[in-house]
Subunit: 96 residues, 4 copies
């Protein structure tokens, strides 16, 4: 499914957020290398996971607003497929 998609208009903001998360993961590596206390590393893991989740929620909101809404406007069987696909993605996010 070629773009642009709902998120494309905010690409720079999304890339900036992902680069920050990348930096957090490198930070975790430094903590492990420097024998930082386990609980402090676990706290940083929670922060990185939360950042990934808020990125996912933003993308999901834009997907609902654009890709799913456009399918509804076009009508037909594509609507059910798009809704089922979005719900399956939400289920995967819930299970992590």
């Amino acid at each position: 499914m070629t773009g642009p998609h709902g998120y494309s208009k905010d690409k720079d903001a999304h890339l900036k957020r992902l680069r920050r998360i990348e930096g957090q993961i490198r930070g975790l590596q430094r903590m492990v290398e420097e024998d930082v206390y386990c609980i402090d590393i676990l706290t940083q893991v929670s922060a990185s996971t939360k950042a990934l989740q808020s990125f996912a929620l933003q993308l999901l909101e834009e997907h609902l607003r654009h890709c799913v809404a456009h399918a509804v406007e076009r009508g037909g069987p594509e609507v059910d497929a798009k809704v089922a696909e979005a719900t399956a993605a939400i289920a995967r996010l819930l299970r992590t």
Copy 2:
């Protein structure tokens, strides 16, 4: 709290795992740059979150086995503090 800690003996394995997660986050950036379909990006976010979680679970297991167990062996009020600290870390992981 200076190391080494429970996880220190498996440092290389942990660093390898974190570098892979770092690579996944860079992969997410490429997907956004290339206007990949939203749902495929969300699927990759779930995979990265899951990888972060299994890293956290490994660290937690080693923390219980070493830091918490050594506090129990020493006895005294430190045990309650260590257990409360570990439970708070688990609660943070649950809320993400």
Copy 3:
């Protein structure tokens, strides 16, 4: 917002599922009364939480398919409000 809603047509199936979850929670009470091993109780908590989550996912899917889709068909500012509202509900589910 009076019904019927997307889930109304499957009301009996949802009520049956909720009564089963209610039974699971009573089962947890019996386990606590009978001093069952902690880990076995925690396993039952995970099963009940998972059942609640799949109930929530079904309701969410029907909400997207009906309430959000009908807002899209009507058009206007209501669409953004409905999408934002659904995303906030998903965020709450993610944080538990």
Copy 4:
């Protein structure tokens, strides 16, 4: 594994908490019967899931403080088994 266990001393508080959760699940049934708006039901599901999770965290803390700590005091191979068992329970909670 017969009790009493770590949680046994707070049995009444745990039973009270579980009865409240049971009431919340019955509340969900009333909301479905009365065609309450989907998002309001999802908000109640998040509240019930959060209540179940805090019950699980309390049980886990008591399990670490008693069952796991007593295994450490006795020493031997049982410690690894208890830590692995607790970590597996935490993993199940994380995946819901």
